[in-house]
Subunit: 671 residues, 2 copies
């Protein structure tokens, strides 16, 4: 969407908006960290972001790549900076084409820094001399595809201080096809407002966006102020100087100063604020919080679908995805980027979607081995692994190899059940509670247009040890509300979908859907075989990546590798979305045996290892029997109190965390 259209909408609704500027970091780790930060900052609700042009070589490529990732994977409307004086025409063509292909529709056209050895601007051979040349070139080549922004200099620029002349230049850039202006940073609202008035008088009628620099540290603030030569109101120095050695205080006071500046702009009819974030989140966040502009749980950011939509070229209408990548959005976008069409309305008949191979950039495990060892410790036993999962479910660990973000608030209602499962060695990977028609404005489950209802079928993805899988499959086969797929690394697939048992077709199973006024039914999330098998590859790859964070001869490497080789990845859908707790009772009485014992084949003093039946290939028959006996005993002790779902609170059944049994338990209480 064009930035000028977004600004017009903000103006129409009189709802202030804001945007964030980032620059391409110099290291790969820096890029990864910035992506994570951009992902989080999506939650601040920016109207768009922009990425500066990394002039020359690798950084230019990186700008294009970041625009693509921000636009496609993070669903951020992205404006690409592009400079011209230091660029060959062919490079500009290439950059514009890449921006186009990424789905980017906004360019900030800039002149660029002068080559160091020269004092005055010169066009490169066949190239451009002024930003207005670039504006005209883009307009001629792409018509109205791109909205084209240009830079404004309220307080002069490097090689030109004449304010009248600068406004004349700006007018020329607009006349050449520019549709909005972003200014250099400034600290003095009055100077900016006066300058805007002059621009208007000069016939510049496009939106003018103020560029604002939040204060991260006193040193950075001073460096910027000197470098840009912009006027700093004396009050700023008076307030910041006395505390200049206290970074926290500087950020606090700085946030108030910048917020006051913003307030003055908003009061004077400026509807949009552009923040030079310096790739940092906190200072900008503090300003926005102070202005009370960020989304809150009372008025959450609008969420058109339960997952983050891509703004990639062909993906804007995409509205169905498999649930498996819910915690790995970026990987899903990468693995599907070569698709010609994206599912819209239904997953449909795309029975053999071709998922990209695992060597695509960004699919493997993130972070260095050292960082990962620090994050996840060095598990010596299955119990250590289970404890790690419990810590993640409790919010004490921020990520797992399969979940890039902390556990979401949607899992709140399941937390006790999830912790309980994991503590028994049933390692949960992904889950959602059933929702029987929550309002689309619901702070946790809501998405889509207002006055609608959203629904979910209960979903659980869990890594199951070979000792337990057979009993679990038997229990699930008995329950006609359950559909499942289980698969191990070797590709042994077990499912009750499409087997004529009445559990379901082999087609896609919609697990999230919404009903809205005046619209067709939207069903953004599905479970489906081919996609699950593609996710299986990625899942085991990530697990193996994790094992390789540890030395080849280490116990940790062995424990994790063993799990990857013998355990089953199992997904379960409970098709009756009115049952509040349909899935968890399936696991009653099941527990991975001997979790605190070293695993087989290890020579570090495990005296029991010779007594145990092997756990490889699901042949751990002795423990298997124990597992059954336990299950029966525990089940008999916990008779279900009631039959049928409690219908007195039907709106969000998932919100009820009571342990009341429902009819889903019928299937195996007499097992």
């Amino acid at each position: 969407m064009h930035i000028s259209a977004k600004l017009a909408e903000a103006q129409r609704l009189q709802r202030p908006s804001y945007s964030f500027e980032f620059f391409p970091p110099k290291t790969a780790q820096g890029v990864q960290n910035l992506y994570d930060r951009m992902d989080r900052m999506h939650g601040f609700g920016p109207s768009f972001i922009d990425i500066t042009w990394g002039a020359g070589g690798r950084l230019a490529t990186l700008t294009c790549e970041m625009v693509n990732t921000a636009q496609s994977a993070y669903g951020l409307e992205t404006c690409m900076h592009l400079t011209c004086t230091d660029m060959q025409k062919s490079k500009i063509d290439e950059a514009l084409k890449e921006a186009y292909n990424a789905g980017c529709t906004n360019i900030l056209a800039l002149r660029g820094d002068p080559p160091r050895e020269k004092e005055k601007w010169e066009a490169t051979a066949g190239g451009f001399r002024y930003a207005k040349d670039l504006v005209k070139y883009i307009r001629d080549a792409y018509g109205n595809h791109f909205d084209i922004g240009v830079a404004g200099y309220p307080e002069g620029c490097d090689d030109q201080d004449d304010p009248e002349l600068l406004i004349e230049h700006l007018k020329q850039k607009i006349d050449a096809g520019g549709t909005f202006v972003i200014t250099q940073m400034f600290y003095d609202a009055d100077l900016f407002l006066e300058w805007v008035a002059k621009c208007r008088k000069a016939g510049i009628n496009v939106p003018i966006i103020p560029g604002l620099m939040p204060i991260h540290t006193h040193a950075a603030f001073m460096r910027r102020a000197n470098w840009t030569k912009c006027h700093v109101p004396p009050e700023w120095h008076e307030k910041l100087n006395p505390i200049k050695n206290d970074d926290a205080a500087v950020r606090e006071v700085g946030a108030q100063l910048v917020a006051d500046l913003c307030r003055k702009l908003l009061d004077n009819g400026i509807i949009h604020l552009h923040f030079y974030t310096m790739n940092l989140a906190q200072a900008t966040r503090m300003v926005l919080d102070s202005l009370a502009l960020t989304p809150t749980s009372d008025s959450p950011a609008s969420k058109p679908l339960p997952w983050r939509q891509s703004l990639g070229l062909n993906r804007r209408d995409e509205n169905v995805r498999p649930i498996f990548w819910r915690n790995r959005n970026r990987s899903y976008v990468a693995r599907t980027q070569d698709w010609d069409e994206f599912p819209n309305g239904r997953w449909g008949d795309s029975r053999s979607p071709a998922y990209g191979e695992l060597d695509t950039y960004g699919i493997g495990l993130k972070g260095t081995n050292e960082a990962n060892r620090k994050l996840w410790g060095e598990p010596k036993t299955l119990k250590d692994v289970a404890d790690l999962f419990v810590s993640y479910m409790s919010g004490k660990v921020e990520a797992l190899p399969w979940s890039e973000s902390p556990i979401s608030s949607e899992a709140d209602t399941l937390r006790d059940d999830l912790i309980n499962l994991n503590s028994r060695g049933l390692l949960t990977i992904n889950s959602q509670p059933p929702v029987d028609g929550a309002r689309s404005s619901h702070p946790v489950y809501g998405w889509g247009p207002r006055n609608g209802y959203v629904f979910q079928k209960a979903y659980l993805e869990v890594l199951v040890s070979p000792e337990l899988i057979t009993e679990l499959l038997t229990r699930m086969d008995r329950n006609e509300d359950i559909t499942y797929y289980a698969v191990n690394q070797a590709g042994d697939l077990k499912t009750n979908a499409g087997d004529g048992s009445g559990h379901g077709d082999e087609g896609p199973n919609a697990v999230t859907w919404g009903v809205f006024p005046g619209k067709e039914i939207v069903q953004p999330t599905i479970v489906e075989t081919v996609s699950f098998l593609a996710w299986r590859d990625e899942f085991f790859r990530l697990g193996n990546d994790w094992s390789r964070c540890y030395d080849a001869s280490s116990v940790s490497r062995h424990v994790i590798k063993e799990m990857m080789e013998t355990w089953y990845l199992l997904n379960i859908v409970h098709n009756d979305f009115r049952q509040q707790r349909g899935i968890f009772p399936l696991f009653e009485g099941l527990q991975v045996p001997d979790m605190d014992q070293p695993m087989k084949g290890l020579t570090n003093g495990d005296t029991h290892s010779n007594d145990k039946k092997p756990t490889v290939n699901g042949k751990h028959s002795a423990s298997n029997v124990n597992g059954h006996a336990e299950a029966e005993a525990q089940t008999n002790g916990e008779k279900p109190e009631t039959q049928g779902a409690d219908l007195s609170e039907p709106h969000v059944t998932g919100a009820d965390t009571s342990k009341k049994d429902d009819k889903a338990t019928n299937g195996y209480h007499d097992a």
Copy 2:
């Protein structure tokens, strides 16, 4: 679907099935009556039907047309008879091609009757001599597209009495490609079973279907028995002779005799019964009832979608239709028969579906003018028209110009509201109650696979007089749960969909949908602009057809014509399917004025006519004011007791006919 596949399925499930044979009637009215009967007999749950070959000229064309209509419009799996000895090869090619294009996949290949003047069979030039030639020809030309049935003669046929030779001929027909056998009628189970045993011994292994003739009258029974020379067990004559002049008694006793015959067959492993219905329903129905084979409310016929699916060539995957033709299924199929693709999953982007013109066969008003006058009387005033509608809603009149069948049981919960509206001159055309997740097995609302839930948004289509339309539109515009379209014959369209009011997009609005285990969400019924405008054409055409049932100078003609020229056809969706009675409160206090007065421009003593403002073009301002005043008075007198839907019985909210007001009334109580 192939008949042999259906028989295999019946065998696998050990669930007896049955089929009905019809022949092409001689008159157009006879064809229409038969279509109506076939439509009703769909409800008996036949596995398939067949249509005999109307050898020669018009009747052959009629067979093809009937196969097409049965297959496409009535969704009956249809087997086309085809004879060969009396047919040119080109005619056979044509018939096969038409069957193929109709979606028909079953042919009963027959030899045909001998030309009268000849004693022995002869092939026509370039034609066929035996049925086996035809079987081979079809197999060669169409591969396995068609399942090919052949005739079996357990008791000999016209020109051949040698049972051994006849079995040899049958074997040859099977060897040529026949895949099932339907026998001539018989009354003696033992003879049939012995003959089947002989066939099996001769190596005939395809399914053999017994042909059974229910007894309609004693004369017909005797005529048939003599004509086919089949053996009638003495018991039949003993039981039927004494009552032969009492038709009712003959049918009753005959049904028991045929049912006993069927029972004996079923007990001997025959899984399918084929009935020669003679185009009559009752006698066959009595046999099936006696065998307890027809669907009941306890075990209703499976209903894959809320509307009857077409089995036309390209339509088998069609699963979305506009709601407007709900009571005119056949007309919908006719008007969309030329579409290249049919909506599957979503109505989608087919924003300009091209509906066929109204001159397509079968779209105009059914029945003769005389019959229609008899059915609908001769209304002299609006009150007479309203009374007719009330009678239809009460089940006392079987059809209306816009509804070919009696009001359905789904309207039961709305009946009081509908009667009330119609009695006030608000003439209801189509309606459905809201359903908040009824089980898919629900006897009234259920459809689709088992263990699912089905939903509906409340829908009402109503013909509104110009005096009331403005007030109604105002009320609806205030209610954010309502989307509506109103249009008059002249094409003046009023809607709140897609007007930015937040009531909805201009896209399709799903009003019926279902959630099933292991499947994507199914949404078989939608409301949508272009389709509504096509329905508008048909609606007003039918109304004008009705007016023309009366003499050009008659009051009835004038009254109906006036309505067609000035009233609005309005459809209303209440988007909150959890509100039990969202639509009807919109009409509170509204009443068409002076309904029992003769309409304007009539010279039969209407003393008030000069005092009245004209009702044309919605300018009846005086009455309009009265309407408002009444509305206010009545509204104030009936304060809503509660706010919010009652959630204690959420499963089928439509089943609650209580008059409890809900929040939908907020919009206009302060009007």
